[in-house]
Structure formats: C-alpha cells, structure tokens
Symmetry: C2
Subunit: 212 residues, 2 copies
DNA sequence: TTTTTATTGAAAATTATTTCACAAAATAGC
DNA sequence: GCTATTTTGTGAAATAATTTTCAATAAAAA
C-alpha cells in the first residue's frame, strides 16, 4: 500500500532478517553478505538478494550489506521505530504465558491491556498488565486506540469476541484459536494453530523423508 | 514419500480440513460440499477440490463429499489413527502452557516426557507429565523412542539441545525459539515464531490495506 | 597499477500454487 | 423417466515464488 506491493512470501521473511541484523549489530559486525545471512536464517542467498532488491539497491557489489543502515531501513519498514500496543483477550493457560512472553524484548510491541471473563481476574494486574472484564472490551479498545489483539479464548466464543473487537476498531488479529475467523476484508488475521503445526510436522515426517 | 508427493501447500492445509470434518461429524452431518467447507476454513473451494483430488476422486458429483469416509481417509493420511508421543524441552513460561495445552484433544499427540535444567523441576510431575533433568535427554528420547520434540528453551541453548535431541533419534522439531536451527536434511523443523508472527501482522496492516 | 576475488542486482528460466471455467456425473424434483 | 440443478474433477491459464545465471562493480592482493 505505502510502497509498491512486496510479495507476501518476502514480507513474512522480513522479521527474520530484522532479528538477525540486530544480532549482528550487537556483535559489532559492520557488514554482512547474503551468503552469511543465508547460513544464519536458512533462506537461500538468492532469495535474500531478491527480497532486499524489492526495496532498492541496498547492498554494494563485492562488499555486501552494511549492517547498520540495513537495520535502520528494516526498522522503519517494520514499524519497529514506534511502540505498538496490543491487547490480549483470554487470560487462560496460553494467554498467561503470552503475557509473560517478552514480545517487547525483540519487537517494539507491548501488551498494554488484557481481557478475561473470569470475575476474579477482572481488575487485577497480571505480569504488569491490567486485566479488564470482557464487558469493557469494546470500550477499552476504543479508548486506548488498540489496533491489534492477541486472541487466546476458547474457540467457541472466538467469533463473537472477534466481532466485538472489530467493532472496537481492531485491524489485526493474532489468532491462537482453531477457528478460522470471519472478518471484513480490511481486517487481517494471522493464524497460529499449534495443533496444526504439530500435525503438519508429523505429516511431513511420514511422507517426505529427506528434502523439502 | 509413501504416495506420490503432494504439494507442500496442500499438506499444510490437511489438518485444517481434518479438524473441520471432525466438527461436522460431531454435528451428525453426513455430507459436505467444497463450497460449504470453503466458508468454514476460508480456503477457496477450487483449491479444496484440487487438494482432495491429489488423493483420488473422493467426492461424488452433484452430491459433495461424504463426511464419514473423508474423515476416515484423512485420519489415516495424518497418522491420527495412532498415538504419537512427543517430548517437550524447556518447562518455562511457554513450555508450561504447552504442557497444559490439550494437544491430545484434537490431535492424537501426547506429551509424554518433558525436560528442564532447573534442579527443582527435575523428577517432578507437571500437568501429568514427568519432568526429567536435561542430562537424561538423549537417553530418555532413545528409551521412549520419541521422534518429535517441542522446543521451548532459550535461544542461546537451542542449537545444543537440538543436536542432543537429534543424537537421541529425534526426527521432527516444533521450534518455538527464534533461532533457525541447523539440522541434517532428514530432520524436519517447523518454526513457530511468535514475535515474527506479530511483526508480520503489523507489516501487513501497514502495507496492505484491504485484500490479501 | 593491474589482477584476482568477492559479491550484488537483475534478467531469464524454472517450479509451485492458485484460480477459472466447464464438461461430466450424480442427485433432486416433478 | 425426464429435466433442471448441483457439484465434482481437471485441463488450461494465471499468478506467485524460487533458483539459475551472469554482467557489473567493489575490495583486496599482487
């Protein structure tokens, strides 16, 4: 939208590159080649060069890429130069773990509010995050201008909660439920389906010995 | 490997279909069309028909697919007719949540052993799963013939632990660390990178308004 | 300075995946 | 039994993603 559209496959790899560039910077490396990056992130070096080239000529022939400036560039692209607030809905088993999971450590995202149906949780603070009752979902999302939610509720209520969140202005959903959500086309859902991942792994193991 | 190779993209969708077929069966539905499935799982109906067709003609024209027999078929394909044991390595924040996460509810996978460095955890039982000290990793994996591990250790030790697990006979790794693991080509890694997912979501939000 | 080596950027080729569109087959209604 | 309707399965086309290849350029070595 902002620039010309980058392939989706490329977009999904940007955070991987970004993370490794941070590691390189912390190790005071000033330059890196596509081959070296390739080893670290397990993406073919030609694919890396192709990915980078969508953003212009970022490297220098015979030299490689300058870590610092590449990092600065990706930081901007990935919106990591500003803090993004997210809300977590459903402070159960997994939700609690995600409250403690330090998203803020390597991404400029912070969970600034959480919601749960359980009355004993409402109006407490868990892992430094205030928990609101479900009834306040829409209002708080609106008031706090939160555009991203992490959804860790039971599948049975996932669609209802989603509808409410979208009514509250949410634009992106990290969906840990097994339900495939119905959303307007300007709302984006990123599914993280743990059972699926495990089953896919088993399928590949059984059916693709060796090689991808 | 066992049959002719199915496209990877198709393979990744099989668990999604499988789950929804279970839901249909529980609701005593006997038939389903590709269009109806499409609505539920948010995959284009032509893609669904194409996916199914890799396994032969599973449907009937003018009728659709028989839920029961389709389910039976996918259960076999996905190895869900046998129980698969997995080990969890790293009983921290996220690891603990995954111990409680009921993989067994909708997939025939069970976490039958867990491992952690902390001495106070070793030789206890958490959420019904015995915790072993890290030193026993290789031996236990061998003894219990565990081929799949869920990796929830700090990134800093991820590669070492991986090497040890592979030495113990592991063939598949569900990797929750941010490290891209180096493994022999007959070992499969499925990455679940939460920070990445969140950053990708933000990127899509900022750069792809509307439409995929 | 000149030569060698390293490395990008991009065009072209290849491979993978999705979608269109419709004939063929089966069902459902009359 | 006939006709209208539904729905699959699949060639062909379109789109997306990866990989190969190599000229161009920068840095390092001679």
């Amino acid at each position: 939208m902002t620039e010309q559209k980058i392939p989706k496959a490329t977009a999904k790899r940007l955070p991987i590159y970004y993370r490794y560039l941070n590691i390189l910077k912390d190790a005071d490396k000033t330059r890196v080649s596509s081959t070296e990056l390739s080893d670290a992130v397990k993406v073919d070096s030609a694919t890396i060069r192709r990915d980078f080239s969508y953003f212009g000529a970022l490297g220098k022939r015979g030299y490689g890429y300058d870590v610092e400036s590449l990092l600065k560039f990706f930081k901007k692209i990935l919106n990591q130069d500003k803090l993004t607030n997210a809300a977590l809905i459903g402070v159960g088993n997994l939700g609690n773990a995600l409250l403690n999971f330090n998203f803020h450590q390597n991404s400029n995202v912070r969970i600034s509010a959480a919601f749960d149906v359980r009355p004993d949780l409402a109006n407490t603070v868990q892992s430094g995050v205030p928990i609101y009752p479900m009834a306040e979902l829409r209002k708080q999302l609106e008031d706090q201008q939160i555009k991203i939610v992490i959804l860790t509720v039971p599948s049975s209520v996932a669609q209802d909660v989603t509808d409410e969140a979208i009514a509250g202005g949410v634009r992106g959903i990290l969906n840990f439920t097994s339900l495939r959500l119905s959303v307007p086309k300007d709302v984006r859902v990123q599914n993280v389906d743990l059972t699926n991942e495990l089953q896919t792994l088993i399928y590949f193991l059984d059916h693709y010995n060796d090689e991808d």
